[in-house]
């Protein structure tokens, strides 16, 4: 096993990986940009390296700087987390070239799966169903317009290098096609440095299901069952669960086998995820493979009892995957909510500011993954996801109730968050019934507002108490500053009946 691992990431995922390493006796090295110098992942690591400028390209995305530092501190391996460099084949290659183990698949597999067109072609050869569409190299507007019309509407425009909903547009009518292609290309260029897009038949109100894969370097490949990730806003997941309320044992076996076949077809190693789109008739189509740890991996850990990050480390160090498909069990039900600094009643706009108070819910089977704390400043440089909240119980209904309890005790003050919104989604009758699709938020929460009503009486009472408790002190201070020679007699009005 490695003696020292560098974690090329920040936030909750860096914290989570550092803890796994430390439990295994591996020394950890955090990297950080200026604005993160006191962030939790830096505090918890055994060593840390300042990468400087907070602009991602200068720090968390700077391959040369990270490799150079990893060499300097003698890190034997680098864990990329998710996002940033996790799916960058050049980074994986640069690690290999320097003799550092990249904790993930080979650069070739990352490159292949990163090219959404080639990925689909390769996977289709393994007899895994894919969606009809145009995945050609011709990227001129007229070709794309022509191919789009051939596929018909609705259709999807998506960045070839994409992920997380960036560079993605749904086109409902021919008239929108041109502008959508241009806008998707511009966003793709900015996010991935590559403006190539593909077009696909758009399935209305599908479910998003994915299978977790673990594969070692000795040819063993297993899946750890499904995750249902249909609840999305702006094409990004906000609530994930397992097992899926729509899943049957037969379909689970069929899809699980397809996922293993897909991973085998590309010679996959380490942890990865095969994403499928499922229509109303239980037809499923390969969408893409994420060649890294997934944000929502905790729900799989909760229901299988497996620690995915520890297995990533073991596999990367060359150990054999001793878990057997037949011995794996999926037990109970787990639910994850992503806590975002964003305003759900205003288009989910990110919210920036200082977290004046963070107080997390805790209790049996409540898991908090967080990279922030009281006084942390949420900056515009990085993703506005603050934390993840995961619960697991004996069944779906209990998980929903536990999650609602936990969200009701989740205190984050100083920025607007999606916490109240998540509670409302979980408590929606159609969600409770399990009738969910990727359009759930649009269908039921289109013009949602946090508070149509005004301030409740209890809030006014609490505010008044707070101000009565705190004004006195403030006013005394103010007075002192103004006139230090007669400290008390003018303060009367503010010193209430003591």
């Amino acid at each position: 096993m490695f003696k020292k691992v560098l974690i090329a990431n920040r936030g909750e995922i860096a914290v989570r990986i550092i803890k796994a390493c430390q439990e295994m006796g591996i020394r950890t090295v955090a990297v950080y940009s200026e604005v993160d110098k006191n962030a939790p992942h830096v505090q918890i690591a055994d060593e840390s390296i300042n990468l400087g400028d907070p602009t991602p390209s200068e720090s968390y995305l700077n391959i040369a700087k990270i490799i150079e530092n990893a060499t300097k501190v003698h890190a034997e391996a680098i864990h990329p987390g998710y996002g940033f460099l996790a799916e960058n084949p050049d980074f994986a290659k640069a690690c290999a070239d320097t003799g550092i183990t990249f904790i993930g698949p080979t650069p070739e597999v990352i490159r292949l799966m990163g090219d959404k067109i080639e990925a689909k072609k390769t996977i289709a050869h393994a007899d895994v169903p894919v969606i009809p569409g145009y995945h050609g190299i011709q990227q001129d507007l007229s070709t794309l317009l022509k191919e789009g019309k051939k596929i018909g509407f609705p259709l999807l425009v998506k960045a070839t290098a994409g992920g997380g909903g960036k560079g993605m547009r749904i086109v409902h009518a021919e008239s929108e096609l041109e502008q959508s292609i241009e806008s998707a290309k511009r966003e793709a260029k900015s996010a991935f440095g590559n403006d190539s897009v593909f077009l696909e038949q758009y399935i209305d109100r599908p479910r998003h299901l994915e299978f977790q894969i673990l594969a070692d370097q000795h040819g063993h490949v297993i899946h750890l069952f499904e995750r249902e990730c249909s609840i999305q806003r702006r094409h990004q997941k906000i609530i994930e669960e397992t097992p899926s309320p729509m899943m049957t044992p037969q379909l689970r076996e069929t899809m699980g086998n397809a996922a293993v076949a897909a991973a085998k077809a590309v010679g996959y190693t380490n942890a990865g995820t095969i994403e499928f789109m499922v229509d109303g008739k239980q037809n499923f189509y390969f969408m893409e493979m994420n060649t890294r740890l997934q944000v929502e991996h905790p729900i799989t850990e909760a229901t299988t009892g497996i620690d995915l990050v520890k297995w990533q480390l073991r596999i990367a160090s060359g150990m054999e995957l001793t878990l057997k498909q037949k011995e794996l069990t999926q037990r109970g039900h787990a639910l994850e909510c992503r806590i975002y600094a964003e305003d759900p009643s205003n288009g989910f706009l990110p919210s920036i500011g200082t977290l004046e108070k963070v107080d997390l819910p805790n209790g049996p089977n409540i898991r908090n993954d967080t990279g922030v704390e009281t006084n942390f400043h949420v900056s515009p440089y990085y993703d506005p996801m603050l934390a993840k909240l995961t619960v697991n119980t004996e069944n779906r209904e209990e998980s929903i109730n536990k999650m609602i309890w936990a969200l009701s005790h989740y205190v984050v003050l100083g920025v607007t968050t999606n916490i109240s919104f998540l509670r409302k989604v979980l408590d929606h009758p159609e969600f409770r019934k399990g009738n969910i699709t990727t359009h759930f938020i649009e269908d039921y929460f289109h013009n949602w507002l946090v508070t149509k009503e005004g301030l409740p009486l209890d809030a006014l009472i609490a505010l008044a108490v707070y101000d009565a408790l705190h004004t006195q002190r403030q006013e005394v201070v103010r007075y002192k500053e103004a006139d230090p020679h007669s400290p008390w007699q003018h303060v009367g009005r503010w010193r209430m009946g003591v």
């Binding site: 706009l349 515009p380 990085y382 984050v412 003050l413 301030l455 009472i461 006195q472």
Partner: protein, 168 residues
């Protein structure tokens, strides 16, 4: 002590007097007597008769955040000194976010139709569009490509088509 709280454009007038751990609060012609303890900074435990109110309050530069019963409210304590609140205008041309201008689609003098894109702001790897609220002519633009923009800053002014004179 008289306090005015503003929440969602609504103003609440409250008075509070304190005697040790007792607080006498009046709102909307009702008086409430409560006993309160601040357990940890900002964490209040308030007894109103048989009922318990639990709340966490934080004091930011401008706003207070109040956590109560699982909900959070953003509240401003204000002084009522005759100043009128600036009303939110139809078709907001203010930036909803701090970010970078990635594209400015108009020039001063350009005619625009309702919902035309005026400029595109990128923040945290996502794009936000500022669209024209009505048909008209661009009177002034305040930003160009690559400029930084702060939340709430005015992006442009439009002369509305139907109007006779310049201001809106």
């Amino acid at each position: 002590m008289f306090i005015n709280y503003e929440h969602n454009n609504h103003i609440y007038n409250v008075t509070v007097e304190r005697r040790e751990d007792q607080f006498f609060i009046t709102y909307d012609n009702n008086e409430y007597t409560v006993i309160a303890t601040e357990l940890k900074p900002g964490q209040l435990f308030i007894q109103l008769g048989d009922r318990v109110i639990k709340s966490v309050i934080s004091q930011g530069d401008e706003n207070k955040f109040v956590f109560i019963d699982g909900s959070i409210f953003k509240v401003k304590r204000i002084e009522l000194t005759g100043r009128k609140k600036t009303e939110k205008r139809e078709g907001d041309l203010h930036s909803p976010i701090s970010g970078t201008i990635v594209s400015c689609k108009v020039k001063e003098g350009s005619p625009v139709k309702k919902d035309d894109i005026i400029l595109i702001i990128e923040a945290m790897k996502m794009e936000y569009l500022i669209r024209a609220p009505y048909d008209g002519v661009i009177k002034k633009t305040y930003f160009k490509e690559k400029d930084q923009i702060e939340i709430g800053q005015l992006t442009a002014e439009i002369q509305k088509k139907e109007e006779k004179n310049g201001s809106h």
